[in-house]
């Protein structure tokens, strides 16, 4: 705007002090929005130190990485910011991973609709998802915060538990959803839970000797072999019968006891990635 008129010193002083009446102030404000010269004239009325402090705050905020959607969701449900950041950095909680799990289980669930063989396929595949998820949550290969996790003064066991529980909860939720959606006998939706727990806990318990990724891979192959053998031998899968379930429960409990008993060393090895 090209008005020849500008704020004079006195008006600048009175406006800055809040000593102009509403209509005059509105008039000043309407002019200032359109006039760079008057904006410059107003500048000395504000303390430079104050503007500097606010600028430092702006620079800080702009430089801080923004929390992603998942992290904000965790904040909302009341999870502490540091824990939320840890979870958000867990690779097997990422959208791509969870999407893959959902896809695999959806195919398995679809196959289950085709009859007893399909149902067996689902029961065989479902326990593998949590194991792989937990294994991939740790170690040099999959964890982008690996270096930080090693150097951070944070209880390694707590990190181990937080990540494991989070991964188990999400993958199991997906698998249970898949199981409930498809048709099958009542025990069907939960029969794979104990094998999944046994496999996961054993993976962690073995960490002293084998890296979690390899342990998980080995156990998965073992599980598949056993499942396929049992599958061929019996029409009704003994592998998911009461006796087998009890055995899985026993294995899971033994492994959990082992993990808790040697928690410090195991946590150090798993979170820090045994080298």
């Amino acid at each position: 705007m090209t008005t020849a008129w500008h704020l004079d010193q006195d008006l600048v002083r009175r406006y800055a002090a809040g000593a102009t009446d509403g209509v005059l102030a509105a008039s000043v404000e309407a002019h200032v929005v359109a006039c760079g010269e008057c904006r410059r004239r107003l500048a000395p009325a504000v303390d430079r130190g104050r503007l500097g402090t606010v600028w430092a705050g702006i620079a800080d905020t702009v430089d801080t990485p923004r929390a992603g959607g998942f992290e904000r969701l965790l904040h909302l449900v009341g999870i502490r910011p540091d824990t939320a950041r840890l979870l958000a950095a867990t690779p097997s909680l990422r959208a791509s991973w969870l999407g893959a799990v959902a896809a695999v289980l959806a195919f398995a669930a679809f196959a289950a609709g085709s009859g007893p063989h399909g149902q067996l396929l689902f029961l065989t595949v479902a326990p593998l998802a949590p194991v792989a998820g937990v294994a991939l949550a740790f170690g040099r290969a999959g964890d982008p915060t690996y270096e930080m996790a090693v150097a951070t003064p944070y209880s390694a066991f707590r990190l181990l538990m937080v990540r494991t529980v989070a991964v188990l909860a999400t993958t199991i939720a997906i698998a249970v959803t898949a199981a409930v959606v498809m048709a099958g006998p009542g025990w069907f939706a939960v029969a794979w839970l104990l094998p999944a727990l046994a496999l996961t806990a054993t993976t962690l318990a073995l960490a002293e000797r084998v890296e979690p990724v390899y342990a998980a891979a080995g156990l998965s192959i073992g599980w598949l072999t056993v499942a396929l053998t049992a599958w061929r031998a019996t029409a009704v899968p003994a592998l998911f019968g009461p006796a087998a379930q009890l055995a899985f429960l026993a294995v899971a409990m033994l492994a959990c006891v082992e993990v808790v008993r040697r928690r410090d060393r195991l946590a150090y090895l798993i979170v820090g990635g045994a080298s």
Binding site: L11, A19, G22, V23, A26, V46, L51
Partner: protein, 175 residues
């Protein structure tokens, strides 16, 4: 080097130019502080709103459509941040604060003549409630709903007051 215009600074900010962003800040923060301060008596809150405003500018500079004054666009962001701050604190902005008993100087008449013509006098004759509504909607550029939230009155009341103010102003000019 010649000074860059506000529009050029915004374009540079879109490209992530921190120097341009800082220049924009130093150019516009002072008048924004003063204008916020007239609407909010708490300096800490004003600083917070100023910070939020510029963080929002950094993140959404690409949303500037390139038309009109950059300053007006900044104010549009700022007043809404101020509104958010008030809402979070459950506070209601004081209707335009006015020092009582200020005599209208001849100079002020001149200024109002430049900016609004007879409108200044007409505005001055409105009741404070009506003037607050005019200020919030016409001068600060808020929607009816936002103005209602700002002044602590229902949106419907903002509408009726705005209608009354308009009628009164029209009367002033017809006379």
């Amino acid at each position: 080097m010649t000074e860059r215009s506000d529009a050029q600074l915004i374009a540079a900010v879109v490209d992530g130019d921190r120097r341009a962003f800082e220049e924009l800040y130093h150019r516009h923060a002072p008048w924004l502080v003063l204008r916020f301060s007239r609407r909010c008596a708490n300096p800490a809150m004003v600083d917070e709103v100023l910070q939020d405003t510029f963080v929002a500018v950094w993140r959404s500079a690409r949303k500037w459509d390139g038309r009109g004054e950059v300053a007006a666009w900044l104010w549009g962001i700022g007043i809404r941040r101020l509104l958010d701050a008030f809402r979070h604190r459950g506070a209601v902005m004081e209707a335009v604060s006015e020092p009582s008993g200020t005599a209208i100087s001849a100079e002020e008449h001149v200024l109002l003549g430049v900016e609004y013509g007879d409108l200044g006098d007409a505005l001055r004759r409105l009741s404070p409630e009506l003037r607050a509504v005019v200020q919030a909607t016409v001068l600060d550029g808020l929607t009816t709903k936002e103005a209602g939230r700002l002044l602590g009155i229902p949106a419907g009341t903002v509408k009726t007051r705005m209608m009354r103010a308009r009628a009164l102003l029209r009367e002033e000019f017809v006379r």
